[in-house]
Symmetry: C2
């Protein structure tokens, strides 16, 4: 159903509400389709990865960010540029591990939660799980294999949304001379 997006010179900006409601409709549809919350969470993650692999192209074209030298920089770009651009908020990057491979993104206010009330029977639903999938998909396209999980979700009793990111593997970038394209290979 998808094709490559054409590069757009204009920077269209819209209000968040239609995105919030469309996302809510998508989750509601999955709730109709799937009995188990775990299946919905998996589906949201998969859909997110699919979106992330496409969104990254738009992000790189618009943001003009330089290549990140380490995972600290990557996390900062995700929080301050990507989240701001697509969700209108800036999470706090915190709880770094000593190795610099793990960190958390904290959202005091999750923009996807504007109209949501999760039914009690859906206690294991990770409502915002698509965000994790998007990040995974997008980072994979820039050769970073990152494990991303929603540890807290403000849709539930948790007051904030916490997304934990753990860098698993950094792939080498191979640039083929003929096609001037980049490919990721195992390092």
């Amino acid at each position: 159903m998808y094709q490559q997006a054409s590069r757009r010179s204009e920077k269209q900006k819209i209000s968040t509400e239609l995105l919030i409601l469309t996302y809510g409709t998508l989750v509601a549809q999955l709730c109709e389709d799937c009995e188990k919350d775990e299946d919905i969470n998996k589906e949201l993650d998969k859909m997110g990865r699919n979106i992330g692999t496409r969104l990254v192209e738009d992000f790189l074209a618009r943001s003009n960010v330089a290549q990140c030298r380490n995972f600290y920089e990557t996390a900062e770009v995700i929080a301050k540029v990507a989240f701001k651009m697509y969700l209108g908020v800036t999470p706090r990057v915190t709880f770094w591990s000593q190795t610099g491979d793990d960190c958390s993104l904290f959202l005091e206010k999750n923009p996807l939660m504007g109209y949501v009330e999760i039914p009690e029977k859906r206690s294991c639903l990770l409502y915002s799980n698509m965000i994790c999938g998007i990040l995974k998909g997008a980072l994979k396209m820039v050769c970073l294999q990152v494990d991303i999980q929603l540890l807290q979700d403000s849709a539930k009793d948790d007051k904030v949304t916490e997304i934990r990111m753990k860098l698993m593997r950094r792939h080498r970038v191979v640039r083929t001379v003929e096609k001037k394209q980049k490919y990721c290979v195992d390092s």
Copy 2:
């Protein structure tokens, strides 16, 4: 799954791409769920109406538009304020009937179509049909019963998107003294 949105003072603005991709994911999910294109179109319309009834509250709170005196004004507000606010584009309002009850919204560039290629077997799919539902739902909340149809969809061979709006009925607004709430009743 929904609750009332809290009024937000800040005007968050985001890029359109995540909305476009999320909408595409929703349509793709419906394509998995439904065999017949007509069922998908109906589902998109129904989902849109559900969204429209909620979105109108946000629209009225943010846009500060005055009450429209006739359907000409309503169509202008939809095109120049609502479409701009939520989809980042301004359709042309044209092909008015002599009675002033019918008109078309023409979109040279449909923002929902950024990444889309409809499979051949889905020839009757009205990809952007949720927009019609949203308009119906939102207009119903301001006491206007409007028949809205997607006549042309740029997802198919049609080069533009044409949304036809026909005012069917204008309901009277009754304001109850006790609750200071508005209700629509048949005129």
